[in-house]
């Protein structure tokens, strides 16, 4: 009977933890600070959107609509990793003392890193390497899809979300660490594609998709063990 009682108490503790997870799951999350971007992407070019810091309690909701098939990625890197890359870029382009370059290294670290790794001997263009369709076609080397593909092959660990190509996307992501996350939309086709992208910050007590299964499991275990205990009590009473 003691073992049954012990199991019952383990069950009730599991039930209590499961209920706590359920309460955390039930606390509503809020989507705030929308960041909208609407722009055309030229053939075989890509663009990036909003590099922000996100955490396991501060995720993002992304929705993308395009006039044709595009590829969408969410890329994430830690601040330490990002700082290392910035240092690498500053060392790689020591002659470019333009303050604009410093700003671009700050905001477009990953695209510039991909470009540097794809064309290590190539100096940066003298003009600002603006994202696709914001400058003349000659700037496109930095924002070329092949550069992106090479970069992603070299750094597969930074890909947080990589859905199949399409024209409508919607996703919510809570990183498992504190990460700098940016969205990437690539146009692999030979036509210009109009893209509407919206990113919202989602604040939650806990990532709902990660806690609901443990909550269900613990509550089930708790109820199961309690039923066993109740039956064994009833069984004992009927004997004695």
């Amino acid at each position: 009977m003691r073992w049954i009682t012990l199991l019952w108490r383990i069950g009730t503790v599991a039930l209590a933890i499961g209920l706590a997870l359920l309460v955390a799951w039930l606390i509503p999350s809020s989507a705030e600070y929308p960041y909208r971007m609407s722009r055309p992407i030229e053939p075989e070019q890509y663009m990036t959107g909003g590099l922000e810091v996100y955490s396991p309690q501060n995720g993002l909701q992304i929705s993308v609509e395009a006039t044709d098939n595009v590829r969408v990625y969410l890329l994430g890197a830690s601040s330490v990793e990002l700082d290392n890359w910035k240092t690498l870029l500053r060392e790689a382009y020591p002659d470019s003392e333009s303050p604009d370059l410093e700003i671009f290294i700050e905001f477009y670290t990953v695209p510039l890193l991909f470009f540097h790794e794809a064309y290590p001997e190539q100096p940066l263009p003298d003009f600002l390497p603006l994202p696709a369709s914001h400058g003349p076609q000659s700037q496109s080397m930095v924002w070329n899809v092949t550069v992106l593909d090479k970069g992603l092959q070299t750094h597969p660990e930074i890909i947080l979300w990589d859905p199949p190509s399409g024209s409508v996307f919607s996703h919510e992501l809570f990183p498992e660490d504190v990460l700098n996350i940016m969205a990437v939309v690539a146009n692999p086709s030979s036509n210009t594609v109009e893209v509407d992208m919206e990113i919202k910050e989602v604040l939650a007590v806990a990532p709902k998709d990660r806690i609901i299964f443990p909550a269900q499991l613990l509550i089930s275990i708790g109820i199961g063990l309690t039923i066993v205990w109740l039956f064994s009590r009833k069984f004992r009473k009927s004997i004695f």
């Binding site: 009730t12 933890i17 706590a20 396991p56 501060n58 007590v205």
Partner: protein
Amino acid sequence: MGKGRPFLEIFTYALDEDYRFPILEIFAFLFALGTFVFADFAGGYDRTGETMAYSLVSTLCGFPLMFIFVVLILKNVAYGLGSDLDRGVMQTLFSYPLKRRHILTARLLSSLGIAVLLFLGIQIFGLFLLAPDILATYSSTVFLTYAAHVCSPALLLAGLLLLLTLRLKRGGLALIIGVVLFFAGLIVSGLMTSIAYGTGSDLSLKIWAVINPNSALQAYYYHMGTSGFLFGGETWVPSFSEVLLYLGAGYLIVAVLFIVGYIYFDRRLEI
């Protein structure tokens, strides 16, 4: 009959007394929900990974959750053991074919062991659900931070209260003293920092770090993440080996308190 069975008998009795239904369940619920509610990742945004991991675990071991944990321990050690002494239950326990120290071990295993296991188990499980990457990448930092927070105030107060309860043979007063000591620790912590800044000497911080190793850990990690003006940053920045020494010293003090408690219980306690 071997020694195992009476030991288990006393352990089971202590478990029944310390964690009557639904005490264990309420604390488990609070620890689990608190892990998600009080987790704060914002403190680590501009810091290195290790500092962020330290900052995150520290928020989980901060005032509300640590106080709940300390209350559970104090209730078990002071009130539980005190009631046994007060009501004469200890005399019955002494009739078991066990040495006194084994009886105390069984009692403390329930009062402290299960409470620590519950607190750490639920928090680490919660962290695993919340931020598995942080837990996996910086597991040594997470372990060290928990070790420092559990050492003081939790185990240090438990040791002090064990001695007090054995001496007073009453749990109620010891419990009140324990709660007062918990808050006194918070005040002294701030006071020591003020003294250090005021005098420009790091001696007060070092003395406090022996009693509360977390302050050494805090000074170490905060300096690692930022080079600016922060707690202890100007007057005292311990090296990692120093931090380990302070942690070892903290646990040594706890061990001494418990050893004294054991000796008193074994040889001097008169019932």
